[in-house]
């Protein structure tokens, strides 16, 4: 096992030990899962098992919470995550076509990751940039006033 993995695990355990000193540690579960996802990029069975044992929370309960919130990834994510906004304004301005073009370009569906692990595709509701509709967000960067063609060009720029 490489040391990087151990470091992440240590950080997660340290984080959990800190929450256990609080009065209702079990109520910190969502925060712990956030931390785990921040460290690993997604929530694996192994990570959830680790949380279960350390926090003394049944795995079924953790699974229930992890599947309830869209934010949590249950599979490894690509290097870049593309969020296609399907909020009302974007949708009216053709976000559906942008999404289709992105799917066509990456040959994956929403929620999936490309085989080269470069991109994960997710849909989202309003990103608060309706003036620029339709928009997509790649990681933390927003791209607005898109056409299907422009969206594809943006993605290709990440491939270089």
């Amino acid at each position: 096992m490489d040391t990087h993995v151990d470091e992440r695990k240590n950080e997660l355990i340290e984080y959990m030990e800190k929450t256990k000193k609080q009065s209702h540690p079990e109520s910190c579960l969502i925060a712990i899962l956030h931390k785990a996802q921040q460290l690993y990029g997604y929530l694996s069975k192994e990570v959830m098992d680790e949380v279960a044992t350390t926090m003394n929370i049944p795995t079924a309960h953790i699974w229930g919470v992890a599947t309830f919130y869209h934010y949590f990834n249950l599979a490894p994510q690509g290097a870049h995550t593309i969020y296609v906004c399907l909020g009302t304004a974007c949708f009216v301005k053709g976000a559906g076509k942008v999404l289709d073009a992105v799917k066509e370009e990456l040959k994956i569906s929403v929620g999936e990751t490309t085989p080269d692990n470069l991109f994960s595709l997710r849909e989202t509701r309003c990103l608060g940039a309706c003036g620029l509709a339709p928009v997509i967000m790649v990681d933390d960067k927003m791209y607005g006033e898109l056409t299907p063609k422009k969206a594809v060009e943006i993605l290709r720029s990440y491939k270089k």
Binding site: M48, N56, P58, W63, G64, V65
Partner: protein, 593 residues
């Protein structure tokens, strides 16, 4: 201390005096209004999910869920207005909308709470036609089948599994329309922490949880003339089977059951209670040996299969404390394929050994590799009380008018001690009756041990044996067992001997017992009490009430086993357990969402 006072509330325009501090539903129940309900169960936390129990309260704009809403003095409640009836009917229709329309081919046809509710709402058409979920059935477990298509998300299974059993195998996963009750990681049931106790089946209002059904296979085997068909029946089955034929709870139908087994086509009809007597001989001897040789204490009973799986996953540190005795079912099965086979000079491979059990976990137990004898399964097939009752009906046997018949020798005669195995505290009581006399050589005068009878979650008792104090404890239901064992982990010297049964009430509350009828609820306390009384009654009526006085047991030791804990006893009647994955986790207090 909070004092409850009587207050006046108005239900459907008439005043009623009821105790304060109740919910609307409880208050209405107390004066004879049974508000329709679905997700509510008196032993579980309030979910308020189904909205079937809504009522109208004057001054409140929306209908309220009566299971969750407290009464206040002068409250004016309507339970049956035209608008309310309509709203309630719509709610049930919407539940039905996402439910398969296959009642007539469903296993719970005729004994389904949802069906009964739909009928009582007056639903005669299906008005809504919307999107319907579809999931694969989970057939992986040897005991419990999960069918999410039939699930209406009432959450009773989730709550009983976490609140009463503390196993926490089930939770809601995903959200909204896509919500499904499932084990962690959507793994097959067989790979989860599920103990196979089957309580989810007992409380499920539909057929989202049912036992793995072996009735067709058994009917086929019963036709096979090359096989010697042998059956045994657990004590608790006879205490409950009458309910499956419309009788009230508490009717002991021991000899009728034996007669029905013969009519189904079994060649030999044995009694698991014989195995229970044998278990007591071995277990009491093992206990005395541990006492005398400073062995590992407290010793914990090992009869309950759900408890055994629970122990391996949740309490592997206590494995050495668990008695090495197999369960009465597995002992009877082991002797069927050895002692009995030799006696009738038959090839054990030709014997088809069937157990009729109040239990779903026994299906799992029967399949355990460590319980095989001479490379044969001790028990080839297990059917529950429900399956047995169905087979009797399906075969056209008039159960209620059968003349009683006796069980067959040599594995059919039992003492009263074997009978009370079916109720919480019974194994301990039976063990005390024998251990006391084996240890002291005196006769135990007061053989009914009141301290460990009844339905308290954890019961404690003391027995003086030749001036030596033996402290015992009894827990029923895995949640109570967990509480007791947490105590044992903290105070290992507190007890000498512990009985644990996986189901509430012991085997009489097993996961394979008849479904609650139209006027009762699953796991109703009164029903459990009556089933217990049926077994205590059978015990009282017997001349032989101590396992070691059972003449067939004495003969078995004389002719075959030698003595308790002999090498042959060890080979056939004892086993060992190992820690199992996935490891179970018992949380402090987490409310199931």
């Amino acid at each position: 201390m909070r004092v409850t006072e009587m207050i006046t509330i108005y239900i459907n325009n008439k005043p009623y005096e009821v105790s304060s501090g109740q919910t609307i539903m409880q208050a209405a129940d107390s004066v004879g209004f049974r508000i329709p309900r679905l997700c509510y169960h008196p032993k579980l936390s309030i979910e308020g999910a189904c909205r079937v129990c809504i009522v109208e309260v004057e001054g409140i704009r929306n209908y309220v869920a009566s299971c969750a809403y407290p009464i206040t003095p002068g409250m004016k409640i309507k339970t049956n207005s035209r608008e309310l009836r309509q709203a309630r009917r719509d709610i049930v229709e919407l539940i039905l909308d996402n439910h398969p329309q296959d009642c007539h081919t469903c296993e719970r046809d005729g004994i389904c709470e949802l069906q009964r509710l739909a009928y009582s709402m007056g639903i005669r058409h299906r008005h809504f036609e919307g999107e319907r979920k579809h999931y694969e059935k989970d057939l992986s477990s040897s005991s419990v089948i999960r069918d999410p298509d039939k699930c209406i998300l009432c959450g009773r299974c989730v709550r009983i599994c976490s609140e009463i059993q503390k196993v926490n195998a089930l939770r809601y996963a995903h959200r909204g329309f896509k919500t499904v009750v499932m084990p962690a990681y959507d793994l097959p049931f067989a790979e989860s922490v599920c103990t196979a106790c089957g309580q989810c089946i007992n409380v499920c209002p539909t057929a989202a949880f049912v036992e793995k059904n072996y009735t067709q296979e058994l009917f086929d085997k019963l036709q096979d003339s090359a096989l010697i068909k042998v059956a045994q029946i657990a004590p608790s089955v006879r205490a409950a089977i009458g309910e499956a034929f419309g009788l009230g709870p508490g009717r002991a139908m021991e000899k009728e059951s034996a007669a029905a087994m013969r009519r189904l086509g079994f060649d030999y009809v044995f009694d698991t209670q014989f195995g229970a007597d044998l278990t007591i001989m071995e277990e009491a001897s093992e206990f005395l040996e541990r006492i005398q040789s400073n062995g590992k204490l407290p010793m914990i009973t090992s009869c309950s299969s759900a408890w055994m799986k629970c122990m391996e996953q949740f309490y592997p540190d206590l494995i050495e404390n668990v008695s090495t005795c197999k369960s009465p079912m597995s002992m009877t099965g082991a002797l069927t394929k050895t002692f009995f086979a030799e006696k009738i000079k038959a090839d054990p491979a030709r014997i088809f050994s069937v157990a009729i059990m109040c239990c779903t976990a026994k299906k799992y137990e029967a399949a355990r590799p460590e319980l095989r004898v001479n490379d044969l399964a001790a028990v080839d097939l297990v059917v529950t009380t429900r399956e047995f009752a169905w087979m009797v009906k399906s075969a056209g046997i008039d159960f209620l008018h059968l003349q009683g018949e006796e069980f067959d020798a040599p594995l059919g005669l039992s003492s009263g001690a074997g009978t009370i195995f079916g109720v919480t505290g019974g194994v301990m009581e039976a063990a005390i009756r024998t251990a006391y006399e084996l240890y002291t050589g005196d006769t135990l005068i007061d053989i009914e041990v009141e301290d460990i009878r009844g339905f308290a979650g954890i019961k404690e008792g003391k027995v003086m044996m030749d001036g030596r104090e033996i402290r015992v404890a009894v827990a029923h239901g895995l949640g109570n067992a967990c509480n007791l064992l947490d105590l044992v982990r903290k105070e290992p010297d507190r007890y000498h001997f512990i009985e644990i049964m996986g189901c509430p009430g012991g085997c009489i509350g097993g996961g394979g017992q008849p479904y609650a009828g139209s006027n009762s609820i699953p796991l109703d306390q009164e029903c459990l009490k009556k089933r217990a009384e049926a077994l205590y009654g059978l015990d009282r009526d017997k001349t032989i009430r101590r396992s070691h006085e059972n003449p067939e047991i004495q003969k078995l030791y004389r002719e075959y086993l030698g003595r308790p804990l002999s090498p042959l006893s060890h080979k056939l009647l004892h086993t060992h357990y190992r820690p199992k994955e996935p490891r179970g986790i018992i949380p402090q207090e987490i409310k199931a969402r």
